[in-house]
Symmetry: C2
Subunit: 231 residues, 2 copies
């Protein structure tokens, strides 16, 4: 059809603002809690939880279920042991209700005019679909670790995108706000675009967004990436 690369997007932090969204919802529901610390602690449990699956301690597990494992550990530490099961289930699905960054929908809409755009997230398909429907993310296709039964940075995920679209790895570009994700994609032969998200961890915890010359593109936003790609 076209020789424009397939664009595969990291989601948490790159496309949506997990810290701001969780902080806002926790502050509204449970004003007694330090919402900033709660959001950071929940996210900090993410890599260790996936490591339990990678190591074989847990079988293949969807991110919804890993988020719940972490949440159950977190609630007593934040004085929320009294939540009902319904409240816990609702809170756990805050990850389906994350808000996009202000440039996200406009940027994706422009990029979609010339490229096939898909998610490539460790989040499960249902989470990503609910998020997209609520936030208006115009994906051509929702790809997830769930499709490949492997979490990023497993090469099966990056190479899986190329396989799904029957193209060479160099015809896929990963778009992410995390240099380690991009480095793993590059090692598989993908092109890479870094997106600056200095407030990913909240205004109190600014993040280093220095360029890495190894990336194909470096952009301040998804709109800025669309400009660089001529969309």
């Amino acid at each position: 059809m076209t020789h424009a690369p397939i664009l595969a997007f990291d989601i948490f932090g790159t496309v949506v603002d997990w810290h701001g969204s969780i902080t806002r919802e926790v502050a509204a529901l449970y004003p007694q809690v330090d919402a900033d610390a709660f959001a950071l602690a929940w996210r900090a449990g993410y890599q260790p939880a996936m490591q339990r699956v990678r190591s074989g301690e847990l079988g293949w597990t969807l991110i919804d279920d890993l988020h719940r494992l972490i949440l159950d550990d977190l609630l007593p530490r934040f004085g929320l042991s009294a939540l009902t099961e319904t409240q816990k289930q609702h809170l756990n699905k805050v990850w389906h209700r994350l808000d996009p960054w202000p440039d996200t929908v406009a940027g994706l809409t422009r990029l979609k005019t010339r490229h096939t755009i898909c998610s490539l997230s460790n989040g499960n398909i249902g989470l990503l679909t609910n998020m997209a429907k609520r936030a208006g993310l115009p994906w051509d296709c929702v790809l997830s670790a769930e499709v490949f039964r492997a979490y990023k940075p497993d090469p099966a995920t990056y190479l899986g995108v190329a396989r799904v679209f029957d193209v060479a790895p160099s015809d896929v570009m990963l778009v992410a706000a995390h240099q380690d994700d991009l480095a793993a994609a590059r090692a598989c032969g993908l092109r890479t675009a870094y997106i600056e998200r200095p407030l990913e961890f909240g205004a109190k915890h600014p993040k280093d967004v220095s360029p890495d010359a190894a990336n194909t593109f470096h952009a301040k936003s998804l709109v800025h990436l669309a400009e660089q790609l001529g969309c």
Copy 2:
């Protein structure tokens, strides 16, 4: 989020007109061929090819590759043995270029306002995504046999939709133009909607579109289904 059922759509024949699309393309490229017979023969190879995978004779195989196996068998029978590899690859991807029925985009767009809409096809993810991008099919999510590594009517596909969205089978409705597909979904507890596509096999081969009272809905088009669902 909502209690409206997830709508999962069969694709070939239900959402897109495979017979008309293939007939038009073959007639344009190879006017010496009986395009109607060619399209019917290609489609007739589909179930036997999947059966080779179900029986274990072939390992898990994407529909793009099954279409190519059938095509390679078909070309000499239609006097097309001289096609180059590039021509064969192009022709095989006609399945990515199928046109929607006239009511499809309007119907899906209305249904999407109140329901999560996804494909549930034996077609592979890349095929379905390329088709959707070209035809403007506004899926919330592209689901495929490829995600579940099982072809319909394997229960893993119908129940897989419910599992992906973490809902009961009765909160999913299969929308299809084929009573056997709908019967298999019903056996798994899904709701079902039959869509009349009397010209699925072309104007020369009208299809019985009689209602089956076992279906939850019976509609003349996707717009008619949207009307019945109050969208």
